[in-house]
């Protein structure tokens, strides 16, 4: 059987009409009125790919191109197009789709959370301290602020009660300034930050509840888990879709969903430890509501973002499950 196509001789880009056929272990190539013989083992038949013309490579960078796919398969056997057969086997494609969906679900539910949980407990403290220092610098947290006397008293009470609740742990709370907003958060190294407006706004018990929530982030190392998770996602995306213009969006949405999960975990952690010292979990809900109100009064805050775009669950939702734990 003769296969017709074009030949590029590897010296220049001129396309020459050519034909090719096989005699046992020999491949004969005809072009420009001449006929050349090659050993089959020296001829590389590329696998079929979609509907593109197929290339057959000869020594000396000679390249024969033809769209006669079926003839090429007949002459050279099906081996070269094994992957192409996979791609056109409906069952295998369906199996691949199922594998992929299962892999995505498993990654989201178990692989990423479990791997990041495992990783964060292996990271040495010195490295964590370095990350925390860097974050403090980036967020412009600066020096500790001097608190008004009554706020200072509140903070000392909270610190001593937390130390009492978590005997083995070192409780470090630093008062800082953040655009005059009521806020509290935890850094990866286990230190916590609180602002003066928060201490002013909340009762001692409410502020304690909020700091318990932050203790939850510290205990579970949520900040580091999130970082590790992002890294794992980007590696997985690199291998499955190879990056691209839109992958960052998916990565962010998944990151936000983990963040909401972490908030819930920290809420439940706070609820449990509040109950241990005879306080109601709904104290946390009250504190959160007050903070949200004060923040949204200052600027049209993120309160109105739909859940999937937000890093925290809705405050109403959090209040609901915290009330149920009372």
């Amino acid at each position: 059987m003769r296969i017709n196509g074009l030949l590029f001789d590897g010296q220049n880009s001129r396309a020459r009409p050519a034909a090719l056929y096989r005699l046992g272990e020999q491949v004969i190539l005809e072009y420009d009125g001449q006929s050349r013989t090659f050993e089959r083992k020296d001829v590389n038949v590329l696998s079929r790919l979609g509907s593109a013309p197929r290339a057959i490579e000869f020594p000396g960078m000679m390249r024969f191109e033809s769209s006669s796919h079926d003839e090429i398969d007949q002459v050279f056997g099906g081996l070269s197009s094994f992957i192409h057969k996979l791609e056109n086997n409906t069952q295998l494609v369906v199996i691949s789709v199922v594998t992929f969906v299962a892999f995505c679900v498993a990654s989201y539910l178990w692989i990423i959370p479990a791997t990041s949980r495992f990783v964060v407990h292996k990271i040495p403290q010195s490295y964590i301290d370095k990350i925390a220092q860097k974050m403090e610098g980036e967020w412009g947290l600066g020096e500790s602020v001097t608190l008004a006397a009554e706020n200072q008293d509140k903070l000392e009470t909270i610190t001593s009660r937390l130390t009492h609740s978590f005997p083995g742990q070192q409780v470090r709370i630093r008062p800082v300034e953040m655009d005059g907003m009521a806020n509290a958060f935890a850094l990866p190294d286990g230190s916590m930050m609180v602002t003066q407006p928060l201490l002013e706004l909340l009762s001692t018990d409410q502020a304690l509840a909020v700091m318990m929530h932050e203790m939850g982030h510290v205990t579970y190392r949520h900040g580091l888990q999130a970082m590790a998770g992002q890294m794992i996602i980007s590696v997985l995306l690199f291998f499955t879709v190879g990056g691209g213009d839109f992958t960052a969006i998916g990565q962010n949405l998944v990151g936000l969903s983990y963040s909401r999960r972490h908030e819930r975990e920290a809420d439940l952690f706070a609820a449990k430890h509040l109950k241990e010292i005879g306080l109601k979990p709904s104290l946390l809900a009250d504190g959160l509501k007050r903070i949200e109100k004060s923040v949204s009064r200052r600027r049209e805050g993120a309160g109105g973002l739909p859940t999937f775009m937000s890093s925290h669950p809705l405050t109403e939702e959090r209040a609901k499950y915290l009330k149920e734990l009372d």
Binding site: E87, S96, F239
Partner: protein
């Protein structure tokens, strides 16, 4: 080298690029790639990468012929393993500060690795049986690197965009198709001014609209109402749409600037017919498709974007250009540089 000095008797004509792939076909290739990659714990990803590139190159036609990609998957696998090991070795930094030398060396080797990556990529790409190529321009790579850093630091970040031009110019000026050379004209400042002009105008326009909407809502009393939960969402959504718009502006404007300033031996040039509004609608449509399918339209979207970009780009060349390309000496390098560059998202190519 082709004769550039003698004016060719036949004027250059335009040859449109054409992408003949389709979403369904690519979907099957992609899903088998992904399935095998998962089943082989990532090892197949090297073969998947080659197959994906080959799919896109094989289906990209100009003047009746398509491109091809010849990289050896084993080399890519070796590159990936090495990158992975270096990633792991970062953990050693905690054992002793001596290991800090690894990331530092890696950083310093950046421009060297970019050249290696470019050589790997270009020598493995062919058109009409002729390989592309890239010069061992290590020195120029380091100079470009220093220029890119300097222009960012000394303008306090305002000129950072210029570094993009420097790298593109470095790539174009040192690449070749066979013995035919390319050249990117223009200056960094021209590029910067060309881009900043529209960024500035659209930025002002957006600011006006944003403030208008905010004040409009404020005076209509909507914003102060407790139940106006959608208002902040609307304002945030406006910012996202604007970011998306700037992304498209960037794509379209750079395409215009680069195609206007790119030339090559044999009267080669490029022309783009991308327009801002049409491109914006195209990207919006594809993004919408991705969102409603939870990302599973990925292969269709990738193909649609490639098709769209190809349909709006022409190569300008004389008819004899296509028959007169000559093969040049080939170089062989490892794939490590290419793997590093693609992990950094550094775009080596066209």
């Amino acid at each position: 080298m082709l004769e550039t000095n003698t004016p060719s008797p036949v004027a250059a004509q335009s040859y449109p690029f054409e992408f003949r792939g389709n979403g369904k076909e690519y979907f099957k290739i992609w899903i088998v790639n992904v399935g095998l990659t998962i089943l082989t714990l990532g090892i197949y990803s090297a073969w998947a990468k080659v197959r994906t590139r080959r799919y896109f190159y094989n289906h990209m036609f100009v003047n009746g012929q398509s491109f091809d990609y010849h990289a050896d998957p084993i080399k890519i696998l070796k590159g990936r393993i090495m990158l992975f090991l270096i990633g792991l070795s970062v953990a050693l930094v905690n054992l002793s500060p001596i290991f800090l030398i690894i990331p530092v060396l890696f950083f310093l080797a950046g421009p060297y690795l970019i050249v290696r990556g470019a050589i790997f990529n270009f020598t493995n790409t062919s058109f009409r049986g002729v390989r592309f190529g890239f010069q061992r321009a290590y020195q120029e790579s380091y100079i470009t690197w220093l220029k890119a850093i300097a222009v960012t630091i000394f303008t306090l970040g305002i000129g950072a965009l210029t570094s993009q031009f420097y790298w593109r110019k470095f790539i174009f000026d040192h690449m070749a198709l066979g013995k035919a050379r390319f050249k990117l004209g223009g200056t960094g400042f021209e590029f910067w001014a060309y881009m900043m002009k529209v960024f500035f105008l659209y930025g002002l326009g957006f600011l006006a609209i944003y403030l208008g909407v905010t004040f409009g809502l404020f005076f209509s009393g909507l914003i102060s109402k407790e139940d106006a939960g959608l208002v902040p969402f609307l304002l945030v959504a406006m910012i996202y749409v604007f970011y998306g718009f700037l992304f498209v502006v960037y794509q379209v404007r750079t395409a215009h600037f680069y195609s206007k300033h790119t030339s090559g031996d044999g009267g080669l040039g490029f022309q783009t017919r991308l327009t801002l509004w049409d491109s914006f609608l195209m990207y919006a449509e594809q993004l919408f498709l991705l969102i409603i399918t939870l990302g599973f339209a990925w292969p269709w979207v990738t193909v649609a974007i490639a098709k769209y970009k190809a349909e709006h780009t022409d190569a300008m060349a004389t008819p004899e250009f296509f028959n007169s390309l000559e093969q040049a000496q080939l170089e062989s390098v490892s794939a490590f540089g290419e793997e590093v560059a693609s992990f950094w998202d550094f775009d080596i190519g066209f």
